[in-house]
Symmetry: C2
């Protein structure tokens, strides 16, 4: 059997400077469609990790907001290391477009009054959700991304 390579294990996490948006993979389907994977890194690897309630809150909020900003989203999921999210879309997409969508989505987080689906019917762990935490991380992230990419 061919040796299995996990893409995220090939990036040197000591060399990156978070936050950032990085195209980290492209898959070609049998009929020649492209599936693109982006690394949305929110905090610096091995220095910070987003607490579960803030991360889970961001997952609920971004699930809807990102789909309003970007079409053909397959998935947006938190990383097990809690330093960011993976975004998967159908089609090729530029990092700048994903960055814009991320910034717009985070700004919507900042003006959110509640976390959607924060109840035991729609969520698997509804007590572990923090709107406060999600907003504080979003605020920091908007500032840092705008500085880094010279958008302010």
């Amino acid at each position: 059997m061919e040796k299995v390579v996990v893409e995220s294990f090939t990036m040197d996490h000591t060399k990156v400077d978070a936050p950032f948006v990085r195209k980290c993979g492209e898959i070609c389907t049998p009929n020649k469609d492209i599936i693109t994977k982006f690394d949305l890194r929110f905090v610096q690897p091995n220095e910070t990790a987003i607490p579960t309630a803030a991360l889970h809150g961001l997952e609920h909020l971004l699930a809807g907001f990102f789909r309003e900003e970007l079409s053909d989203i397959v998935d947006i999921s938190p990383m097990g290391c809690r330093t960011g999210f993976y975004l998967i879309v159908v089609g090729s997409r530029a990092e700048e477009d994903v960055l814009t969508a991320l910034l717009n989505s985070l700004k919507k987080v900042l003006s959110s009054k509640e976390i959607p689906a924060a109840n035991p019917v729609q969520c698997g762990n509804y007590k572990d959700l923090s709107l406060f935490g999600a907003k504080e991380y979003a605020k920091e992230l908007v500032d840092l991304l705008q500085k880094k990419y010279n958008l302010k």
Copy 2:
């Protein structure tokens, strides 16, 4: 703008009986390929949540093992609620095939001597990894899945 529906918010989490493998979504690409999403639910929603180090450890272990068992995997990511993982594959796939792949992967977890990529270069939070925790959850899960699906 069209109302955005997040698929996972439409399942009634109070009605399910974990653990289970559930096909939870199919997306058709422009050139008519299918992308299938599976809900691999490890623990009962709103009753248990897998601690971060065990969940993160399972993420590292399953990333490689699942790709040895199943072709055309796009992603396997932990849920923000920490009750399971989402698996995304290119192509149509039956729940039974994913269940078999999951069981084989979990059995490989049980015989693992270390967590792959458990270092600051390859991981974003390498101190938050528990091989012990990953194995204990895997052991319980193998038992419960085999009982539930009459595989023993």
